[in-house]
């Protein structure tokens, strides 16, 4: 067992975990942050994407102990005081989610992308190639992110 100390959505957690515990399982089952979803556990579907020190990563491809000392943002950390972020509002307005299972991961990756400038629609679609959505056909997701990007 190993000690791990992480900041998740601004809150400090100190836990003792098995070294093999995935970050995704740590977030969901140890911390109860079930907004991060698990779709494939081999790094393709993108549903488990979180921000680690501001960068979008697959939480199913990291061990919890690798996040020691880092700051993590999950989808639960986006809305403040029950108010959705503009990106979340845009997803709602564009019907960019149906079942909602892939949405948290896509939101986190979109935040990373939007933090780097104003992506074009092509750049948005490129970023989304790292995420699987089986419901929407992606177009409304591109439209929602593009609206926030002003592109």
């Amino acid at each position: 067992m190993m000690a791990v100390e992480v900041t998740v959505n601004g809150r400090r957690y100190r836990e003792v975990v098995e070294p093999r515990l995935l970050l995704s399982d740590f977030l969901r089952h140890r911390l109860g942050l079930t907004g991060t979803h698990v779709g494939c556990e081999h790094g393709v579907c993108g549903a488990c994407t979180v921000l680690v020190d501001g960068v979008a990563v697959r939480s199913c491809l990291l061990f919890a102990v690798q996040a020691d000392g880092l700051a993590i943002t999950t989808v639960e950390g986006l809305a403040q005081n029950g108010r959705l972020t503009p990106l979340q509002e845009a997803f709602r307005a564009h019907h960019a989610l149906q079942c909602g299972f892939c949405t948290p991961g896509i939101l986190m990756a979109a935040f990373d992308l939007l933090s780097r400038g104003r992506p074009t629609r092509e750049e948005i679609a490129d970023m989304l190639s790292g995420h699987l959505c089986r419901c929407t056909g992606y177009e409304p997701i591109v439209a929602a992110i593009a609206e926030v990007a002003g592109s």
């Binding site: 556990e41 579907c45 909602g100 299972f101």
Partner: protein
């Protein structure tokens, strides 16, 4: 909150499932002792226990291989459950799986449908098919092959099972999607009356598209584990398990023959179908084969049609519901043969279709196989699609492109999209004589409850187990309209609990039935509440009483109610689709209640050097009756398109000759991503259905049916061939170009 987010019971054990490594093998020995000795392991349920503790799952037709929730002695597909380990956590359970000693004796595997073991063989004939073929001017024939694929939702299966030994009741939470006929199938396997299998669905489900119907098998498997070990058990499937062992579409080989007159009138059709349902005939199969039976003639008015339907077993994962459910397979063959005929008759494919469409004045139209097409204007829909696609201009571009040596193709598909399935169509697998001895089945009904709390809060509860199709939005909208309140004031509860919800055997989310019967039941229940509210206002002589006030009176002051009125405001309604009789003596069946219509036009270019298929334009024009919510409707169309395009361009479950799955991860099974999907133009027409309460028809599956056919026709047109097999991965197309 999704299934794996729920923790309904404390101290549940975590299950992991040992699965067959081989496609077909005798299990000589399975020894769980080393796993049981592993620290943290609570117990093991082996296939032997499953066979001892349960009965085979019943299905619509007989099969030489009884189907249990886990295999004992013989494994028939790679991924078939052999044992369940329950441990303190999932990591330990997976460690212990590796400790179970299994000795296999490999057996020859069958993976090609043509070599499959036939478990059902039925022939049908309507009109005078022999005469049509004898008197026609042209016969065209081709063999079409639809591969196995899966709509694989992003959320995998999940079950929490809790056996109560005192009452002999199994309570299961599972992301099951219906049809709830399968609840009865699961209860029968467990030897329980339905009342002792309490099934509860979570508030949210991460997609399904039919695939999660087969969760019922795991409800039984985990239920038996709970029963044997005396503790609640939870299991969340992983992606590798999902691709290997959950469910899939059928693979279908269709030999189709079509008889035409010189003028291009289709006068006869013959199908010879081999349907691969995998290792077991698993309920509701062979429903994929019969779901479209009423629509074997598609959008065309041909009256003479015959079909031979063979259902075969192979050493591959059992099949079940998958978006489109028989439609993609049917239309690949029917629309493909129309294009071949157009080429032989030297007619434009759009013109050939126009000459054969069911005319608008013929609705409601009874097809020769028994469907009652409710409404439509097929020719107007075709015209609209051709105009939107700039069809004539595209044909000119094609001529120029071809002159430049480019491979440029245009493909059409005209597709009737049935929705709201008749629960009786599956009995066509039996002959009329055999059917006389069983309970006739028919119809499709749904229940809904609308209630108003003592403080005036409105709750609607539905049995349509949505997975993101916007049922909540539409239900709130319908109830709000009827009760004249704001949709934001309506709480919609979508968890179905078989012990407390108003449900039917037909409940669930499949055959695009929500907008017809699901929304219909909500509408009728809301009307019952509205009528009661109006009666109370009339009785008290005060039309200005608010809903909140009326609700308060109904709950707290029943003495003030009209004589004989029941207290409270809690109304349940069931809505049954009309015209869904059991199959008749001539094997005709109205397999669905409503029928939308779709015309798709696809324009593609194939890379001469690479075989890459680029979709330049894709137009779809829909007539799904009255649209309940345009945004939700467009979402369904785009999603159905994405699945159809995935099946046409990328997706295929590939097995090697020994029955090993070669596409067992998302690295190998290619779901389309955002840059992969072509642009889509959508237009609507609205011809209301006379047979549904709101005039709406289903629209969730139509493009999954039409897109493979339209793209296949476009690629064949580009290459100047009669047939190119889907999916159009560059290597396959390149090979077709060389052939």
């Amino acid at each position: 909150r999704f299934m794996d987010d729920l923790d309904p019971l404390p101290h549940a054990g975590h299950a992991a499932i040992l699965r067959s490594q081989l496609g077909h093998a005798r299990i000589v020995r399975l020894d769980p002792a080393p796993a049981l000795a592993h620290p943290g392991v609570i117990g093991v349920l082996a296939g032997e226990d499953v066979v001892a503790m349960s009965r085979p799952f019943p299905a619509a037709a007989g099969s030489p291989h009884p189907y249990y929730a886990a295999a004992h002695l013989t494994a028939r597909y790679a991924g078939e459950p052999l044992a369940v380990v329950v441990a303190k956590d999932r990591y330990i359970a997976e460690d212990a799986l590796e400790l179970i000693e299994v000795e296999y004796e490999p057996l020859p595997a069958v993976v090609e449908p043509e070599q499959g073991e036939v478990v059902s063989d039925r022939s049908f004939s309507y009109g005078d098919v022999e005469e049509a073929f004898a008197s026609c001017d042209l016969v065209v024939r081709e063999r079409f092959s639809f591969p196995r694929w899966t709509c694989c939702p992003l959320e995998t299966y999940g079950v929490v099972a809790d056996w109560d030994a005192v009452t002999g009741t199994l309570t299961a939470w599972a992301n099951f999607q219906g049809p709830f006929t399968l609840h009865s199938v699961a209860a029968a396997a467990l030897g329980l009356p339905g009342s002792r299998l309490r099934l509860i669905t979570p508030p949210d489900s991460g997609g399904s598209f039919g695939i999660k119907a087969a969760v019922y098998v795991y409800i039984v498997l985990l239920g038996l584990a709970s029963r044997k070990l005396g503790i609640p058990v939870r299991w969340t499937e992983d992606r590798l398990e999902h691709l290997a062992g959950s469910s899939a579409s059928t693979a279908r080989i269709t030999d189709v023959e079509a008889a035409f007159t010189r003028q291009g009138e289709l006068i006869g059709l013959r199908y010879d179908v081999i349907e691969d349902v995998g290792a077991y005939l698993r309920a509701p199969e062979p429903a994929t084969l019969y779901r479209m039976h009423g629509s074997l003639t598609g959008a065309y008015r041909v009256r003479n049609v015959a079909a031979r339907n063979r259902v075969v077993l192979t050493n591959r994962c059992p099949t079940a519901l998958n978006r489109g459910f028989g439609g993609p397979q049917l239309y690949l063959a029917l629309e493909g043969i129309m294009d071949i005929a157009a080429r032989r008759l030297d007619l434009d494919p759009a013109e050939l279709r126009r000459r054969n469409l069911v005319p608008s004045e013929r609705f409601p139209y009874r097809t020769p196989t028994g469907a009652l097409y409710d409404s439509g204007d097929y020719e107007a829909c075709l015209d609209q699609a051709l105009e939107r696609a700039r069809y004539e201009a595209r044909r000119q571009e094609q001529r120029r492109a071809r002159a430049d040596g480019r491979l440029y193709g245009i493909g059409l598909a005209c597709v009737v999209e049935p929705s709201i399935s008749n629960m009786g169509y599956i009995s066509l697998v039996e002959t009329a004589q055999e059917r006389e001895h069983s309970l006739p089945k028919s119809g499709n009904a749904e229940g809904a409850t609308v209630s108003v709390s003592p403080l005036g809060g409105v709750t609607v509860r539905v049995g349509t187990t949505p997975q993101g199709q916007g049922h909540k939005t539409v239900c709130a909208q319908i109830v709000a309209e009827v009760l004249q309140i704001d949709p934001g004031e309506v709480e919609v509860v979508t968890e179905l609990d078989t012990s407390t919800s108003a449900w039917t055997v037909a409940s669930g989310n499949y055959s695009s039935r929500f907008s017809g019967v699901g929304a219909g039941a909500v509408y009728v229940a809301a009307q019952k509440v509205a009528a009661k509210v109006a009666a109370i206002r009339d009785h008290l002589g005060d039309q200005s009483l608010s809903l909140r006030r009326v609700a308060g009176i109904a709950h707290w002051h029943p003495d003030a109610l009209p004589p004989g009125m029941e207290p409270g405001l809690y109304e349940t309604a069931f809505c049954a689709a009309p015209n869904l009789a059991p199959p008749d003596e001539e094997d005709r069946v109205a397999s669905s209640a409503a029928h939308g219509f779709i015309v798709d036009v696809a324009v593609v270019e194939v890379g001469r050097e690479t075989g890459e298929v680029r979709v330049l334009d894709y137009v779809t024009v829909h007539d799904a009756g009255r649209l309940l919510n345009p945004l939700v409707a467009e979402g369904q169309i785009r999603g159905g398109f994405a699945h159809g395009a995935g099946a046409a361009l990328f997706e295929r479950l590939v097995y090697d000759e020994d029955g090993n799955l070669l596409t067992g991860t998302f690295m190998d099974y290619l779901c389309p991503t955002a840059p992969d999907l072509p642009p889509l133009s959508i237009e609507h027409r609205e011809t209301p259905s006379p047979f549904t309460p709101l005039g709406a028809k289903g629209l969730g599956e139509g493009n999954t049916m039409s897109v493979p056919a339209a793209l296949a026709n476009a690629v064949a047109d580009a290459l100047g061939k009669d047939r190119v097999d889907i999916p159009f991965t560059p290597s396959r197309v390149w090979e077709a170009m060389q052939g």
